[in-house]
């Protein structure tokens, strides 16, 4: 039921009670009117009697005057009949007065009146025909006497009337009192009902208002008010409560979010610090890398230099080999010349054969060493490959510099190691080349010894021829070998040049890399700057979050 309906019912109730009270008043006023209606005719009868008695007295007096002088009989008769009419009327009126329920002294007075009236009436009928003036006058006076009696009765009747009026007055007063009390009752009832009704409305409203104040103060720990009536207030209460709930949820959400933001910002700050550290590490690594690159570059340069020197050595060797081949050719010529002297120098040849054998082994050794050089060249090639790979990796790692800078260090180390390997390899090559040179020196010495032996055993031709033939073969073979070696050398040189070219390429890549590293470094600086800005923003965010949280923490939640 809606509040309006309730209030309407209250109003109707009050109106109903008011109507009952009005009916009560009207009923009493009606009965007052009724008793008034009974008493008034009695008073009027008495007044009527009074008038008639006075008339009669007057008529008797007139009659006394009339009969004192000689009169027309008709006039006297008329007068007589008039008096008779008056007496008849009086008979009736007095009879009515007798009917009035008087008590006590008033009753006695009425009895006296009736008695006196009967006497006067009798005397009147007796005296009128005698035309006795004095007697008529006396009768008139006595009629005046009963006038006093009627007056007396009238006073009693008035008494009764006033008593009745007083009673009525009391009754009316009572009615008025009842009305006042009733009105007061109704007013109190109305006030009470209105109060209760209003309280029924205002109390929940006050509670809701109180809750609203609580909410305004930030205390969301409000209990839902129990309100069973299904009216507008219930809707309000429900709406208010769900608002509170929603608010609470919202606040909780905000708090959670705030906490999340705090955590996240903390994490970001942490991450930021980490990133900074990383960036610093990257910067550091970059500079190290730069330095390493420079080192690599210089190493590579050294290697290139070494390779160039080796190339030069190769060239020398080739030239020497060519020279040797020439020499071999010359030697072959000499051998051919010697073959002609073989016969003669067979014996010496024998000796020379030993030397040749030595030489052969020396050459074998040389051959082997050449293989080693070849291997070494391959090794250098491999190194160069690896370096190239490394450079590639380094560039990739450089690209990933953001994630980790450690890779660079490893790469740098690898590159360094490889550079060292390269250096070692190059040194080995250098050593080997030296060994070759030594061998060649030995070889030269052996050759010289051989020449001496050949000189000394020039005679041992047969053997020498054989030897020479052998040597011839050998030299041919050796020449072939040397040629081969020269070709190989050529090949090695080409490879070495290739290596150099690669090295240079690598160097340029490294330089590029170094430039990239600089870029990385710059980017890292920028990133650092950006991170600082981010840190500032985060601090600002934290402040905001703190403010938000402190704002939200105002709310006390269930």
């Amino acid at each position: 039921m809606s509040i309006q309906k309730k209030l309407m019912i209250h109003a109707l109730l009050i109106i109903a009670i008011f109507s009952i009270m009005l009916s009560f008043i009207v009923y009493h006023l009606k009965s007052v009117q009724q008793s008034n209606a009974n008493t008034v005719p009695e008073l009027m009868v008495i007044q009527e009697a009074q008038l008639q008695v006075n008339n009669m007295q007057q008529q008797l007096e007139n009659y006394a005057v009339l009969i004192n002088v000689p009169q027309d009989e008709a006039v006297v008769t008329q007068m007589t009949s008039t008096m008779e009419t008056t007496v008849k009327k009086l008979d009736k009126t007095i009879g009515q007065i007798e009917q009035i329920p008087f008590t006590g002294e008033a009753k006695n007075t009425v009895q006296m009146l009736v008695k006196r009236y009967q006497l006067i009436k009798e005397e009147t009928f007796a005296i009128i025909p005698t035309k006795d003036v004095t007697a008529t006058k006396r009768l008139a006076v006595r009629t005046g006497g009963i006038s006093n009696d009627i007056e007396h009765i009238s006073l009693y009747q008035q008494d009764d009337y006033y008593k009745m009026l007083e009673g009525l007055n009391k009754r009316i007063q009572n009615v008025i009192w009842y009305t006042i009390i009733g009105t007061l009752f109704i007013v109190i009832l109305a006030i009470t009902l209105t109060y209760l009704a209003t309280r029924k409305i205002t109390k929940p409203l006050a509670t809701i208002a109180n809750h609203a104040v609580h909410i305004a103060d930030g205390d969301l720990r409000i209990e839902k008010m129990t309100y069973t009536n299904n009216d507008e207030l219930k809707q309000l209460n429900d709406a208010f409560h769900s608002m509170g709930e929603s608010l609470q949820q919202l606040i909780q959400r905000i708090q959670q979010t705030g906490v999340g933001v705090e955590q996240h910002t903390a994490q970001i700050v942490k991450d930021n610090t980490h990133v900074k550290e990383m960036s610093n590490a990257i910067t550091l690594a970059s500079s190290e890398l730069e330095q390493g690159t420079h080192e690599i570059k210089s190493s590579v340069q050294n290697t290139v230099n070494l390779a160039e020197r080796m190339n030069a050595t190769f060239d020398d060797t080739v030239a020497m080999a060519t020279h040797n081949v020439q020499r071999g050719k010359d030697m072959m010529q000499a051998i051919e010349d010697s073959q002609r002297h073989i016969e003669a120098q067979r014996e010496t040849m024998q000796a020379s054969m030993t030397t040749s054998e030595k030489m052969e082994s020396a050459f074998n050794e040389l051959k082997q060493q050449t293989v080693e050089i070849e291997e070494m060249a391959q090794s250098v090639s491999a190194i160069s490959d690896q370096t190239q790979l490394l450079a590639l990796n380094a560039s990739i790692e450089a690209a990933r510099a953001g994630d980790s800078g450690k890779g660079f260090a490893v790469v740098a180390e690898e590159v360094g190691k490889l550079a060292a390997d390269s250096t070692t390899a190059t040194t080995t090559i250098f050593d080997l080349v030296q060994a070759i040179q030594q061998q060649f020196a030995i070889f030269t010495t052996a050759i010289e010894q051989n020449q001496q032996v050949n000189q000394e055993q020039h005679n041992a031709t047969e053997q020498a021829v054989k030897a020479f033939t052998f040597i011839q073969h050998k030299i041919t073979s050796m020449m072939q070998d040397i040629s081969q070696m020269a070709t190989d050398m050529q090949h090695t040189k080409m490879q070495s040049e290739q290596t150099v070219a690669n090295m240079e390429e690598m160097s340029s890549i490294i330089e590029e890399n170094a430039a990239n590293t600089t870029h990385i470094s710059q980017a890292t600086d920028e990133q650092l700057e950006a991170l600082t800005q981010v840190a500032k923003q985060i601090i600002h965010l934290q402040q905001l979050t703190n403010e938000l949280m402190s704002g939200v923490n105002r709310f006390k939640l269930k």
């Binding site: 006296m112 004095t134 006058k137 006396r138 006076v141 006033y162 009026l165 007063q173 009305t179 009105t183």
Partner: protein, 318 residues
């Protein structure tokens, strides 16, 4: 707040409305001053003292809040019973008219010593009976003066009832009044020795008229009635007594020496209402100055006015 104010106003109006009872101007019978009247002799309609007393009470009724009851002697067994009946009716004062009920009154007065009684035209010694008498001499003086004024024979007559002091007072006043106007006047005096013998009155009157008396004053009750009627028959003037006796002999009665019992009764009641029981047991004599005695309206003679003026002059001179 406003509502409460209106409510209070309403309640106040209602309260004043029912408390301000309209004060009834008319008192109830019980609240009124009660007067009992015991008439004597013929009672009401005697055209004399009873009627005067009645008139006085009627006038008092008109002016004051009083209630009066009267009893005719014919209506009661005897005076004692009548007076006692009036006592029992709780009257503030009970008037008894004339000397006849005096004995009965004194008996009742003794029985009811707290009851206030007034006896009119005679004197009682009872402490609760007030006596009102009239200065007959003063009234008679005026009657004598009038008689002397209107006489042509210079002879006037006085007829007394019993040869008693009261009647002597009448005689003395009458002669003094007459002599005051006409010192040489001859006043005939005779006592009938009865109040009730109208024929004797007639005889005395006839005798006096024969003796050239042309104005007769009778203070002799019913005997006096004979005097008045004889004067009318003999075309002489007559002066009535006690009340206006004009109606007894309209051709003769010039005036009457009035005992204004009505005035006396009225005045006693007025004073008793003003100061209750202040007059109880007293003997009050009503004179000319109290309007207790005087002359009835002058009639019969012609012209009346000069006589009236003369009498008024004499009255003022008293």
């Amino acid at each position: 707040m406003k509502k409460i104010g209106v409510l209070t106003l309403l309640i106040t109006l209602l309260l004043t409305g029912c408390t301000s009872k309209e004060s009834t101007t008319a008192k109830t019978v019980a609240e009124r001053y009660h007067v009992g009247l015991m008439l004597s002799d013929m009672g009401l309609g005697d055209l004399s003292i009873s009627d005067l007393a009645f008139d006085g009470l009627v006038r008092a009724t008109e002016d004051f809040d009083i209630v009066f009851r009267y009893l005719d002697p014919q209506e009661v067994k005897d005076y004692e019973q009548g007076i006692e009946q009036l006592v029992k009716q709780k009257n503030d004062v009970i008037f008894v008219i004339g000397y006849m009920p005096q004995e009965a009154l004194e008996k009742v007065a003794k029985k009811y010593p707290k009851q206030q009684f007034v006896i009119v035209d005679t004197v009682s010694d009872s402490p609760n009976i007030s006596s009102i008498t009239f200065d007959e001499e003063q009234g008679s003086y005026l009657a004598g003066a009038l008689a002397a004024t209107i006489t042509q024979s210079n002879v006037i007559g006085f007829i007394g009832g019993e040869d008693v002091d009261v009647i002597h007072n009448f005689e003395r006043g009458y002669i003094e009044g007459a002599k005051k106007v006409k010192p040489t006047i001859d006043v005939l005096t005779q006592y009938a020795n009865t109040y009730t013998d109208e024929a004797k009155g007639t005889a005395i009157a006839k005798e006096m008229i024969t003796s050239k008396a042309d104005v007769l004053f009778a203070a002799a009750g019913m005997t006096g009635t004979g005097v008045l009627r004889e004067a009318a028959r003999a075309k002489a003037y007559a002066i009535g007594v006690d009340s206006d006796q004009y109606f007894l002999a309209e051709k003769a009665v010039v005036t009457s020496m009035m005992k204004n019992i009505d005035v006396a009764v009225y005045e006693y009641i007025r004073k008793d209402i003003e100061a209750p029981r202040s007059q109880m047991g007293q003997h009050i004599t009503m004179g000319i100055q109290d309007n207790g005695v005087g002359l009835a309206p002058i009639r019969v003679i012609d012209p009346i006015a000069p006589v009236e003026q003369a009498i008024e002059k004499i009255k003022r001179a008293m």
